[in-house]
């Protein structure tokens, strides 16, 4: 940690492209597990959905790399909306698109700035899907992660992971798992799990570049 980089270290568009590429690899690697989780309380497609979407994101970013962090996220969000479908497509798409929009046109952004933007994106997800923390959705990982990102990338990763784990004892009130009623208890939410994966890759990308 530290590695000689100060509080006011900033990240350019390339950093976000590398993150999303890492996310695409991670989703590809973990697709089976995500689908398995979705099979228990959903319809067994979450892994396939995100794999398709993030592969399309990686491809798009490789072809037409945007110039700013905000543009990277907006473009990735749009691509998710256009390629994922299901519940997670519009939700993750909105998360990235609104986070990106909140970043504006700056060519470099710092972690705290990013945390604020993420909070905007997470709020948009909550508004779009009508879910709150505790409903056993991706928001259970996203909300604490965005909050913890104010502290560090590592804290965000941990918060997302803990948030995902914390969905296990919950009863789902939104999305497909809500049909299960009490039977949804005891299973980890697939969307919260993929959210944790995204924040893990964000932390990894930051660590590889010497940031915390």
């Amino acid at each position: 940690m530290g590695m000689g980089l100060g509080m006011d270290e900033t990240f350019d568009a390339g950093f976000f492209v590398r993150w999303l590429e890492a996310a695409a690899s991670a989703v590809d690697r973990e697709a089976g597990r995500l689908t398995e989780l979705d099979s228990a309380i959903g319809d067994a497609d979450h892994g396939a959905n995100l794999k398709r979407g993030f592969a399309a994101v990686a491809e798009l970013l490789a072809e037409e790399p945007p110039a700013t962090p905000g543009a990277v996220l907006v473009s990735a969000g749009r691509q998710l909306i256009s390629t994922v479908g299901g519940a997670s497509g519009p939700l993750y798409g909105t998360l990235l698109r609104r986070t990106g929009k909140a970043l504006g046109e700056d060519r470099r952004v710092g972690r705290e700035r990013l945390a604020e933007a993420f909070a905007v994106g997470v709020a948009a997800v909550s508004q779009l899907g009508g879910a709150q923390v505790g409903d056993k959705t991706m928001l259970d990982a996203l909300t604490p992660a965005a909050e913890a990102l104010r502290t560090s990338f590592g804290a965000a990763r941990t918060a997302a992971e803990e948030g995902a784990l914390a969905t296990v004892p919950l009863q789902a009130r939104k999305g497909r798992a809500s049909y299960l009623g009490e039977r949804s208890i005891g299973h980890q939410d697939p969307g919260a799990t993929s959210s944790a994966l995204l924040f893990a890759e964000l932390a990894e990308t930051a660590r590889a570049e010497g940031a915390a």
Partner: protein, 330 residues
């Protein structure tokens, strides 16, 4: 689990190519994921666009044609389509009279269709929406995503499609669609789980001697699991579940639907039991449709949908329809 496929990634595109070859009367755009009436846009006619995850065939693409849908947008298996598909479909079928989106009530479908509606309106298309949420197995409350859309979709698409074909304006087509949707209720039963190509194994565990009462068309669990029941007992349970919620005061249309893996022989036998219960409950049946219409891949099982109709809705039900899966009249 063995499947008649190449690779899971291409099943939907492969199916669309196969559909194009079998149905020259439809325009199938594999790349853009849409199946469109060849003569669309039909001048002055309101267009109907629906869609949803694949794996429920013939729903929706098999219902495209005169008297029913103008276009259908198939998503990946059990995954709602993306907004781009509906936006393009709306543009392809809109004659200027507007487009009705028929949306099954699932989080994914609702979100994607809503995004599409916004985008299509930005492009100058007038869009109305109707939500189908007929599955009484789910409690419609703040604590769920609401009732699911299943067999009622067929009634909404057929009856609203007939109204559009007759030249009714968008408002009226929408009103009729809402009326049908409000008067449809369904209940599904699984004897076996379905297997998605991506997962390759059953999406839920259903032990040999048990069935799932109130199953959804993506294999979502329902009200309860029980030891195996006879056709007679299943009909009692399913029809009562529907009737208790719908409480029809007039004649109904009945859809006795197969989930995909149940032989037609069994389905017809089940229909005999459904008709018996309905007659015992004093509910007159105006028309009955038996077959695999709103399926769940290879799932064995069935669902019962009742739609209470007045004279106008019955007339629209009887109106001509020419689609791959539903076809009658001239």
């Amino acid at each position: 689990m063995k499947m008649l496929i190449n690779v899971p990634e291409t099943v939907v595109a492969d199916a669309l190519r196969g559909m194009a070859a079998a149905h020259p009367e439809l325009t199938v755009d594999v790349e853009r994921g849409m199946v469109v009436r060849r003569d669309a846009p039909v001048a002055g006619k309101v267009a109907l666009v629906s869609g949803g995850g694949s794996g429920h065939e013939p729903l929706h693409a098999g219902f495209v044609g005169p008297g029913m849908l103008s276009a259908a947008c198939p998503g990946a298996v059990f995954t709602s389509p993306v907004p781009d598909q509906m936006v393009r479909a709306a543009a392809a079928v809109d004659s200027g009279a507007g487009v009705l989106f028929v949306i099954k009530n699932y989080t994914g479908d609702v979100l994607n269709f809503e995004m599409a509606a916004e985008l299509a309106e930005d492009e100058g298309v007038q869009v109305a929406k109707v939500l189908v949420d007929d599955d009484v197995a789910v409690t419609d409350s703040l604590y769920t995503a609401g009732r699911r859309g299943t067999g009622g979709t067929l009634f909404v698409e057929k009856i609203a499609g007939a109204a559009a074909e007759e030249g009714a304006p968008l408002e009226r087509v929408e009103a009729i669609a809402r009326r049908v949707s409000a008067r449809c209720r369904s209940f599904g039963v699984a004897l076996s789980a379905c297997t998605t190509p991506a997962k390759g194994s059953p999406t839920f565990e259903l032990p040999e001697g048990e069935l799932e009462l109130g199953v959804g068309i993506h294999g979502e669990p329902g009200r309860e699991r029980r030891g195996m029941m006879t056709s007679r007992e299943i009909a009692d349970y399913a029809v009562d579940a529907v009737v208790e919620d719908l409480r029809p005061s007039g004649p109904v249309l009945a859809l006795v639907n197969g989930m995909g893996g149940t032989p037609l022989l069994e389905l017809y036998g089940f229909n005999a039991e459904v008709q018996r219960v309905l007659s015992e409950r004093g509910i007159p049946v105006a028309r009955t449709l038996v077959g695999n219409y709103v399926t769940s891949l290879d799932m064995a099982g069935c669902s019962v949908t009742l739609c209470e109709v007045d004279e106008e809705l019955l007339r629209l039900w009887d109106a001509p329809v020419r689609t791959p899966a539903l076809r009658w009249g001239r």
